[in-house]
């Protein structure tokens, strides 16, 4: 009785509280590259839906438009119909292989420069610096009690986050409808509910992912760093701290006091301070490193100040690192890029691209599909001839109305009429106008002489006088005579 209860040890938690990252402002070649890529990405994202493209009176004049309502996809001079969706699939496959290609050639360049999470996190971190000051000021503010001034600053900062998030979420919907019209409808409250819902959701996700979760998205949510771990090899570029040159690290003072016994690293921690994901690159390659190169900029500046050669932290391949450790000069990276792996990726990537271009260049803008009536499969007419009924779909994939000639091949003596005309006008060929950019459905009756046996034949359509613009579809003609 009354045994003293055992002392419970603190349970090991799988959850680690986020350490906020207050990355320092830095300037340098990679920072400037990052600015340029960010500007380009944001400009492309925000400006693209507003580019106009004249397609005549029958199609929308927005250069890039995913018209879900009419199931069309417009991209400058290219118009994709639903049955041509393989173009989009091909582009997606190219994007995937392109990512492999880039990764095998220049490492995690996508993560460091072009990934939306990186771009928007960078933007939000810049807002942090703008409102709260640089690293030290932000650290101080973080630890400061919640005074009115701190609350005001926070509210201002979050308001700016919200404006950026709203601009981000809001721009997305312009890809799916005429941008100026939708813009007006949006602000007057007459846009579709799905538009508001989309803007709401994307604003919220941008606000949360870009404003608050930041590097946690890369480390915990994104699958790509984990795939890349498998994709990188000894010839892929990574940000490398050259420990063989830097270690043992010592402060500048100590190093000057004992020349020769210390490495180049002066342990200034600048590489940690500027890192947008808050890692210490000197601990080696890690999943949190997005290889943006800001630590290289920081280290290069310090090396310049202490009069040592740049590149203590630098983009290097594992192979380079080994060579350098052994005292050999590093190989040129351009030479490393051309190796079987990148060549295979590039060949596949370019092959798909060329195939898509070829298909794009040779595709026909006229289409025909035929569905035969099966119940009844044939009708005997009073004069003994046999009638079969078909539903034809004539596709006009050009931005103007076109006249199409429908004819029958391989059914001697056949005549046809459609449900929009009198039976007495039955003829061996019919001409119908198909509206611009539309599919016209036509119910067609084909009559063949009594002697006709069941057989295969073909419907053929020819658009105006355009030689290449034709299509054909096989069909079956049934008759009481049975198979020939």
């Amino acid at each position: 009785m009354n045994r003293p209860g055992p002392v419970k040890p603190a349970p090991v938690s799988l959850y680690a509280r986020r350490e906020p990252v207050f990355n320092k402002r830095i300037d340098g070649r990679f920072r400037r590259l990052k600015w340029a890529v960010m500007a380009l990405c944001l400009a492309v994202y925000w400006i693209t839906p507003w580019i106009r493209w004249n397609r005549g009176p029958y199609a929308p004049d927005q250069a890039v438009l995913v018209d879900l309502a009419h199931r069309r996809f417009y991209m400058f001079g290219i118009e994709i119909w639903p049955h041509e969706f393989y173009f989009v699939a091909g582009l997606l496959i190219m994007a995937g292989i392109g990512l492999f290609l880039v990764t095998s050639a220049v490492g995690r360049a996508w993560c460091g420069y072009a990934c939306p999470q990186t771009v928007w996190t960078d933007l939000f971190q810049h807002v942090d610096r703008l409102i709260d000051g640089d690293r030290n000021a932000r650290l101080r503010l973080y630890k400061a009690p919640w005074t009115g001034a701190k609350i005001a600053r926070r509210l201002l900062k979050w308001a700016i986050y919200l404006v950026i998030s709203f601009a981000t979420g809001g721009a997305w919907i312009f890809y799916f409808a005429d941008a100026p019209t939708l813009q007006h409808a949006f602000w007057t409250g007459s846009a579709a509910p799905v538009a508001y819902a989309t803007v709401g959701v994307l604003t919220a996700t941008t606000f949360v992912l870009g404003g608050f979760m930041r590097e946690q998205v890369c480390i915990y949510m994104c699958p790509w760093p984990r795939i890349q771990t498998a994709m990188l090899d000894e010839k892929s570029l990574t940000v490398t701290y050259k420990d063989w040159r830097g270690e043992p690290r010592a402060s500048l003072k100590k190093a000057l006091a004992r020349p020769g016994s210390c490495g180049d690293c002066v342990d200034c921690n600048q590489c940690v301070a500027v890192c947008p994901t808050g890692i210490d690159i000197r601990q080696g390659p890690q999943v949190g490193c997005i290889t943006c190169g800001l630590c290289i900029d920081a280290c290069d500046r310090v090396m310049r100040e202490v009069g040592r050669p740049r590149g203590l932290i630098d983009y290097a391949t594992l192979e380079d690192a080994e060579r350098e450790k052994a005292g050999q000069p590093p190989s040129r990276h351009l030479k490393l890029i051309w190796r079987p792996r990148t060549i295979v990726y590039f060949t596949v990537w370019a092959g798909i691209g060329l195939a898509l271009l070829f298909l794009l260049g040779t595709r026909v803008h006229t289409g025909l599909t035929v569905a035969k009536d099966r119940n009844p499969s044939y009708i005997l007419l009073s004069d003994g001839s046999v009638r079969n009924a078909y539903t034809l779909r004539l596709r006009n994939m050009e931005g103007r109305p076109r006249r199409m000639t429908i004819s029958i091949e391989g059914l001697p003596g056949a005549r046809m009429w459609s449900d929009d005309m009198a039976r007495v006008a039955a003829a061996p060929r019919l001409v119908r106008e198909v509206p611009a950019d539309e599919t016209r459905v036509l119910r067609l009756y084909v009559v063949a002489p009594a002697t006709s046996a069941a057989q295969e034949f073909r419907f053929h359509v020819q658009a105006e006088a355009q030689a290449r613009e034709q299509a054909a579809a096989p069909a079956q003609f049934d008759s009481p005579g049975g198979a020939s």
Partner: protein, 300 residues
Amino acid sequence: MADRKIDEATQTETVGHEWDGIEELNTPLPRWWLWTFYATIVFALGYVIAYPALPGISHASEGLLGWSSRKQLGGELQAAEEARAGMRAQIAATPLEQLPAKPALMRAAVAGGAAAFKVNCVQCHGAGAAGSKGFPNLNDDDWLWGGDLRTIEQTLIHGIRQPGDDQTRMSQMPNFGSDALLTPAQIQDVASYVLVLGRKEHPGASSGRGKDVFATNCAVCHGTDGKGSRQFGAPNLTDAIWLDGSSRDEVVAQISHPHMGVMPAWGTRLDPVTIKMLAAYVHSLGGGEAFAAPEQPQDP
């Protein structure tokens, strides 16, 4: 609990059982799980009160909301009916003759007619309206009583040989055989002549004799040339369509004791708009005739 047993390794209480030296830890459920569980209990209680749930002897409890699947279906049916009401009103207001000139209305009528056909007409005329022996094929261009919209509607409303309907289409072919109006030999001869008319046999002595029998007994309805009469619903005997079969036996049977088709008068069972839509559908099957058109020229 008097004797709490604590697991050494995890410092967690056990449930006190032991199986082959293995003990079960009494790890408490997470708080969120428990609250979710309690919430489901509360929800279930509310559900039982609000919806029919508790079984009784003859009825289940009705629930405070008064919901039933039957009522829900009724509501859905009514909503569907209301959604169609506008189009039905327009069809009702449009004279049948003008229906083909309004494509949207005509399409709606044909679609509605196709649905009504599937319910009321397929039993005799077949799902594709192709009919069968004795039941006319509505797809072809042969019409016993006429094939324009108005005539089809009239046939639908009053039926064919419908007892008790004074406007029904009525005609009667005498039982030439069973009533002994013709001798078996005469029947064979006139059958020969009909088969020659229908280009099923070549002329011969029998058909020559049959021609006279035909002129005396049959021409009054089927016409001297055998082309039939829509006034009496008398079939055209010279075309390729044989409602009751084209073999000699079948023709002889039809002369001896004719089969006379009966179609119900749908005017007493279906509302006028549905009948209008049915007429539009049957007319659209490929054999529909234009109004006031003389004999349609055959495909040359």
